[in-house]
Amino acid sequence: MADGAREPLVQVRGLKMHFPITSGLLRRQVGAVKAVDDVSFDILPRETLGMVGESGCGKSTTGRAVLRLYDITAGSIRIEGAEIGSLSQTALRRLRPKMQMVFQDPQASLNPRMTVAAIIGEPLDEHTRWGRRERLDRIYELMDAVGLNRNFANRYPHEFSGGQRQRIGIARALALNPAFIVCDEPIAALDVSIQAQVVNLLEELQERFGLTYLFISHDLSMVRHIATRVAVMYLGKIVELAPREALYADPLHPYSQALLSAVPDPDPSLAEKVERIILTGDVPSPSSPPQGCNFCTRCPQVMPVCREIEPETREVSHGRFVACHLHDATHDPTGGRTPGTRQEPNQQGVTR
C-alpha cells in the first residue's frame, strides 16, 4: 500500500458486518445494526496495527470479522493473498493455523473444565497428528515462551491470576505458529502493572516469531507504545488511519483530536493548560447512523456538507488516510460548497 516494497499480509476491503434486527411473529428483518460499515485497511508483515475507538464503535467486531468468526455481510479479506471473505467455515478450517486471536477477558476465554495443557494443546489436537510426547513437548515449549511455569500444566484456569490466564490465552494462540494474531483488547481486563507485562510479552513474541498484530484497544497510550500504525474507528467506520507518530503528534480528524485530547497528561501543571475537546451528546445508534458523516452529530467543526454527504477516505499525505470533509480538497474547509463532482476512489488511496 503506502510503501510498495512489502506486500500486505492482511488486506481488508469494504468489510461490512451488519447484524439483522428482527421483530414480529415471523421474525422479519426490520433493520440492521451496522457494527462495521465499509472498513478497509492493510496490515504489513511484522507490523502492529493499533485500532482505537470508544466502546461500541465496532473494534472488536472488526477483529472477529477479519478472522471470519462471523459470517460477514460484504467485503473482501485476504490473508497472505488468500481470499477468506467468502470461504465456508469448513474450508476455513485449513487456514485457521495462520490466524489466531487473543481475547479480551482471559477468564471467559478459557474453558473452566480444561487443564492448561488441554487448553494450549487444543489447536495441536485439531491441526496436527502429533503423538502424546511431541504434543507435550510443544505445550511445555509454549509455556516457557509465555513465561508460565511448566508445573502449572495440570491446573485449571480458575487457579490463575488474570495475567497468567492471559498468558495461557497467548500460548494457545501461538501454538500453531500463526503469522497473524488479532489481539482483542488483551489488556483491558488486567491490572495496570500486569498490562505492561502482557504488552511487553506480546512485543517480545512479535520479535521472536515475526508476528503481525491487529491490536484492538481503547487504551490510547498502550496503543501508542505497541502499534506501528493506528486506525481510529467511530461508529463502524475508520475515520483516520496513520502512522503512530504522525497521528499522536497531529491528529487530522476532529474525532481523533477529541479522543487524543482525552488522554490524561502525567504532568498536572501541563494538564491544566491543555485545552480539552469535550464532545457533547451520545454516539448515534449504529442501527440508524446519521445521514452524511457519521460524526456530524457531535463534531465541533461540523459544516453543512457534513450532514449531507458521507466523506470518503483519502490519503492526505504519505500514509495518512482520513475521512473528513475538512481535509477534502474538493470542498472549501470553511464550508459552503456542495457535493464533490470528482469521483474519488473509495479506497485508502489508490485502488490496486
Binding site: 472477529r64 478472522l67 468468526l69 469448513t90 476455513l92 478450517r93 485449513r94 485457521r96 493455523p97 490466524m99 489466531q100 486471536m101 481475547f103 479480551q104 477477558d105 471467559a108 476465554s109 478459557l110 474453558n111 473452566p112 473444565r113 480444561m114 487443564t115 495443557a117 488441554a118 487444543e122 489447536p123 485439531e126 491441526h127 502424546r132 507435550l136 511455569n149 511448566r150 508445573n151 500444566a153 495440570n154 491446573r155 485449571y156 480458575h158 487457579e159 490463575f160 491470576s161 495475567g163 497468567q164 490465552g169 494457545r172
Partner: protein, 321 residues
C-alpha cells in the same frame, strides 16, 4: 477453617504468581488424567460415598441375591400365606404364600434395570435434542416445538396406546420378558426427555456465547468436537440433576404401568408391582408395602447423592476445596 494452614496437597504448593520455585521432578510429570482428580474429589464427598455404598449394596442384592437365596418368587404355597418374618421367610410371605425376599430380589432386578435404562434413554434423547436445539439456531424452533408437543401430550394414554400397539410384536420377537422390558424402557424414555432437553438447551444457548467457544471456533474446532469438548462438560451439572431425578421417575412410572396392568404381567414381580399388590393389605401387613417402598426410596436417594457428588467432582472450581 480458612486460617488453618492446610496440608500441602499435590495441588496447592505454589499457586500464586511470582518467581516460581522449580522442582525438576515435578516438572516432568505428564498431565494427570482428569478422572483421577474427579475420583479424589468424589471420595471426599461423604454423602456421595454413602450413596454409592448403598447403591452398590442394592445392585448386589438384586444381582447376586437370587443366586444365594434360591427360593422361586413365583412358587405359591397357599398354606404359608401372610406370614411374618421368620428364618424360612426372612421377609414373610404374601397373600398367596410367595416368598417376599425372593420377590424383592427378582422385582428389584427389573425395577433397577428399568430405572437405569429408561433414565439413560431419556437422558440421551434429552441431551441430544437440547444440545442440537441450543447449538444450531436453525433447528431450535422445530425441536423446541417438538418438545412442547411431547410436554403437552397426556402421558398415560400415550403409553397405553404404545403398549397396545407394540406389546405383541415385541413379545413375539424378543420373548415375553425382554419384549416388555424394551417396550417399557422405550416408552418411559421417550416420554421423559423433555425437561432435560429444555434445561440443556437453555444452558447451551448461554454457553455458546461465551468467549471460550469463540476461541475454539477461531482454532477451527468443528461443531461436533465443540459440543463434546466445550459444551457438554459445562452442562454436566443440570444433566446430572435431571438424571438422578429421572431414575426415580422411571421406577415410579413403571410401577404405575404395572399397576394398570400394562407393564409386566401380574405374576412378574417388580418393586412397583409389589407396592401396589401390598396396598390392599396395608392395614393388616404393613411390611408388605414398607419393603418395596424402602427399596425404591433408597435407590432414588442413593442415586441422588451419587449425582450430587459427581456434579461437584466434575467441576474443577469446586474440586480441591
Amino acid at each position: 477453617m480458612t486460617e488453618i494452614p492446610r496440608p500441602i496437597t499435590e495441588k496447592e504448593p505454589h499457586a500464586v504468581a511470582g518467581p516460581k520455585p522449580f522442582t525438576p521432578d515435578e516438572a516432568m510429570r505428564p498431565p494427570r488424567s482428569q478422572w483421577l482428580d474427579v475420583w479424589d474429589q468424589f471420595k471426599t464427598h461423604n454423602g456421595a460415598m454413602a450413596g454409592m455404598i448403598v447403591f452398590l449394596g442394592i445392585v448386589l442384592f438384586v444381582a447376586v441375591g437370587p443366586w444365594l437365596w434360591t427360593a422361586d418368587p413365583g412358587f405359591i404355597n397357599i398354606r404359608a400365606r401372610n406370614q411374618g418374618m421368620s428364618w424360612t421367610y426372612p421377609l414373610g410371605t404374601d397373600q398367596l404364600g410367595r416368598d417376599m425376599l425372593a420377590r424383592m430380589m427378582h422385582g428389584g432386578r427389573v425395577s433397577v434395570a428399568v430405572g437405569l435404562t429408561a433414565m439413560f434413554v431419556g437422558l440421551a434423547i434429552g441431551t441430544l435434542i437440547g444440545v442440537v436445539a441450543g447449538y444450531f439456531r436453525r433447528l431450535d424452533g422445530p425441536l423446541m416445538r417438538l418438545t412442547d408437543l411431547f410436554l403437552a401430550l397426556p402421558l398415560l394414554p400415550l403409553l397405553l396406546v404404545m403398549v397396545l400397539l407394540f406389546r405383541e410384536v415385541l413379545s413375539k420377537n424378543f420373548g415375553e420378558a425382554t419384549g416388555i422390558f424394551i417396550l417399557i424402557v422405550t416408552a418411559i424414555g421417550i416420554t421423559s426427555w423433555m425437561q432435560t432437553a429444555r434445561i440443556v438447551r437453555g444452558d447451551v444457548l448461554a454457553l455458546k456465547e461465551r468467549e471460550f467457544v469463540l476461541a475454539a471456533r477461531s482454532i477451527g474446532t468443528p461443531p461436533g468436537r465443540m459440543t463434546t469438548r466445550h459444551i457438554l462438560p459445562n452442562v454436566m451439572s443440570p444433566i446430572m440433576v435431571s438424571a438422578t431425578l429421572g431414575i426415580a421417575a422411571a421406577i415410579i412410572t413403571e410401577s404405575a404401568l404395572s399397576f394398570l396392568g400394562l407393564g409386566f404381567p401380574p405374576d412378574f414381580p417388580t418393586w412397583g408391582r409389589l407396592l401396589f399388590d401390598g396396598r390392599d393389605w396395608i392395614e393388616q401387613y404393613p411390611s408388605r408395602v414398607v419393603w418395596p417402598g424402602v427399596f425404591i426410596s433408597l435407590t432414588v436417594l442413593s442415586v441422588n447423592f451419587i449425582g450430587d457428588g459427581l456434579r461437584d467432582a466434575l467441576d474443577p472450581r469446586i474440586r480441591g476445596r
